[in-house]
């Protein structure tokens, strides 16, 4: 049985449908990336899951308990981290975590053990006596994550946790989340940084204008969004700089567009991205994409285009997101 089951969830504010009939589920030990543009309904959904808001329709069950009918039973099972860290500036890290441990009714030695283990896990032990106001964004975010872990929840709901973090802090957060999933916790995470999500998420849900456009394991969503027509994406980089590179890029683009299998070509900096697609009705044979790539490379070399790298490009969540969404906001 799934730890979290969301069925037909809707939240309307008058005529505005912030969340419109969305359904998905989440197993223990998995990380679900909640993807969508601003105003898509991610935070509203997360607030409902965290018992902070009530749905207009639909049901949300966490370990079989309804977040609407039994919020008090659900809260001990979840840890919610909003997009604002919510720390008290005039408390030290240790005081802050100790305060929340008390609020979670942890007592005596058990409380101390739990606070120590959370600080250890989040790498906060050396900062125990530092005021939270003096911490960097990344460290504040660790403190906030530590707070959500104090009562050992089974589901973590993290709203834009990587927002505003520097690359190192993001990588460290990614590792922490992977470790939490390895401990068996289910993690629901929203983020705008799709490359981040694609590296840690097992499943994803893409939402726009309150509607769920795609959901499931990441590779399945990628397959589905890639479409039914057999195709491959390639990326080539050219050598050179200035006007010479400009000319070479234009030449490569023109040559590639003349080839029958090339569907789409786009130039980004010194790279050219292209989509190679079989014609409708043509059955793909094993190795057709490699053959096509070799043929295209030959054409470019023969035309004296300075190719320095030519490789297939893996589809990622960014592609899926751009394919599925239409950039609409409400």
């Amino acid at each position: 049985m799934s730890l979290l089951t969301v069925k037909g969830l809707s939240r309307h504010y008058g005529p505005l449908k912030a969340v419109d009939d969305i359904s998905f589920s989440l197993e223990e030990g998995t990380i679900l990336g909640f993807i969508g543009p601003n105003g898509a309904g991610k935070s509203t959904t997360m607030r409902i899951l965290a018992t902070l808001d009530v749905p207009t329709a639909g049901s949300v069950l966490l370990d079989g308990k309804s977040v609407v009918d039994a919020p008090d039973q659900v809260r001990p099972l979840l840890g919610y981290m909003p997009d604002r860290y919510g720390t008290y500036d005039d408390m030290t890290v240790l005081e802050f975590l100790d305060f929340f441990a008390r609020a979670y009714r942890l007592k005596g030695a058990e409380r101390k053990r739990r606070v120590d283990s959370v600080m250890e896990f989040a790498g906060l032990t050396p900062l125990a006596d530092k005021l939270t106001v003096a911490l960097s964004k990344g460290m504040k975010q660790r403190v906030a994550l530590g707070r959500t872990l104090l009562h050992d929840p089974r589901l973590l709901i993290l709203d834009e946790p990587a927002d505003g973090l520097d690359p190192r802090a993001r990588i460290e957060l990614r590792e922490l989340l992977k470790a939490l999933a390895a401990q068996g916790k289910a993690v629901l995470i929203s983020s705008h940084i799709l490359t981040e999500l694609s590296e840690i998420c097992d499943t994803c849900a893409i939402i726009e204008q309150g509607r769920l456009l795609a959901t499931g394991p990441v590779h399945e969503v990628l397959q589905r969004t890639a479409g039914t027509t057999p195709h491959t994406d390639l990326q080539l980089k050219l050598h050179g700089s200035g006007p010479a590179l400009e000319q070479a890029l234009q030449k490569a683009e023109r040559l590639l567009l003349e080839q029958p299998l090339v569907k789409d070509v786009s130039v980004e900096g010194a790279s050219v991205r292209l989509k190679v697609e079989l014609q409708p009705g043509v059955a793909p044979t094993p190795g057709w994409s490699e053959e096509a790539a070799a043929r295209l490379l030959r054409v470019l070399i023969a035309a004296d285009v300075p190719v320095c790298s030519f490789q297939p490009r893996e589809l990622d969540l960014e592609d899926a997101f751009m394919t599925v969404t239409r950039g609409k906001v409400q």
């Binding site: 808001d53 809260r75 909003p82 604002r84 919510g86 005081e95 007592k107």
Partner: protein, 473 residues
Amino acid sequence: MSAAALSERLAEAAGPIVVKEVRQGLRARVFAIFFGLLLIGCLVVALIAAAEFDRRLNAELGPDYFRIFLGGLGIVEFFVIPYSAFRAMTREREDETWVLLVLTGLGPRRIVRGKVASALAQGLLYASACAPFVLFSYYLNGIDLPTVLVALMLSAAWSCLWVCVGVAAATQAESRIGRALVHFLVLGCLLAATVGGIAFAAFFSEEGGRLLREQASFRAFCAGLILWALSTAWVASEGAASGLALLSENSAKGPRVALTVQVLFALVAGAFVAWLADGGDAIGAVVGEVCGCIYLSVAGVFAISEHDGFPPAFAREPGWSKPGALRSFILLVGLLALGTAGCLLLAHLMGSHELKYQRVLLAAPMFVVLYLSLGVLLGRLTPLKVLTEPVSTRFGVLVALVLGTLVPMLLSLMVHGRANDRDLNLLSPLLGLSAINNGDRGALTLRLVGACALFFGFLAWTVLAARDTERRT
């Protein structure tokens, strides 16, 4: 038991919010400054008093110095501590840390209790610093211990009331502009409460002892004031918890229960006083009801500006406890009716059959219903509704009161050359009640006010009922 173990036990018993708030409060600069100033001030005044007492051995210096000590303590207890409590809750709202607290399972009511308890604990610290000096004033002659004790009890109740009001006010505004307005309002109220409290303390230190000994009515007044302050503090703290409640929690139940209990208690207390007084003038019932109506109109502004409808999760709750402005409006009208019936009965028991008293007793709640209903209509049907709830209705009541006061006065000024013409000010919330006492036409005036209250009350009920059905989400 070691000191660490004892403090740990105390902390466990007090609860996490109290521990946190006291810790933060004691660490704050404002505590160090005011605690230091209070202590130094009291010490200097005590030295001066000792020197003066040395010179004039039989002089009764007690009341004068008691007034000074109580004044100093009053500034801290009536202003600094309630304002600190207000700021603490405001910060919790602004930083949205209250959401995290609610998720721990503490619940809004426990959060509010924690905030209030920690403010009172800080108040106790200040009071304990000042206590030896207050006691010292007893040895300066001229003031007895019961007076000191009653004054301290009154101060404690007054401080508790304003702490709760401060905490409640901090939970009311959502927007930045709203918060700024509330901030100014709270500052104004606390200044007024401090000045009023210190002025009363000054009067009390001078006359309190004598009045307490000689007049039963003054003793009843002091007891009533303490009970009113404490029960209103309870209502305000329930209001604060309601302001912090999530949509998944019933925000209406607590304040409604508190308000109902308070009104019932006031009626019982009124009956008890009437029984003690064994008859007497019914003016007490009239004053009590007018004060009660003013109080209920303030409470009513918050009650009727609740959101319309209720989330489906509350469909199974009994009708009276379901959230929604409609039910609060009905409860308020019910409480006003109950209060009026009680006061009429009290006036009758006190042996008063005077028509003028009965008219005032009947008219006062009608004015409340009339202006609250106008507020509902203005806030929910006119362009004011763009402000959304609860601001629109609160603003609606304000507009109704201002227009209801100013327009008749201006008309009166233009027609008769004076602003207080009774005929034109019949429906004025400021001057209307005095017109009811206007001999011959009093009955007619009462009927007019009653008809207006009934008509607009019915309209407001219709509007609220329609919106309640429409917005049950």
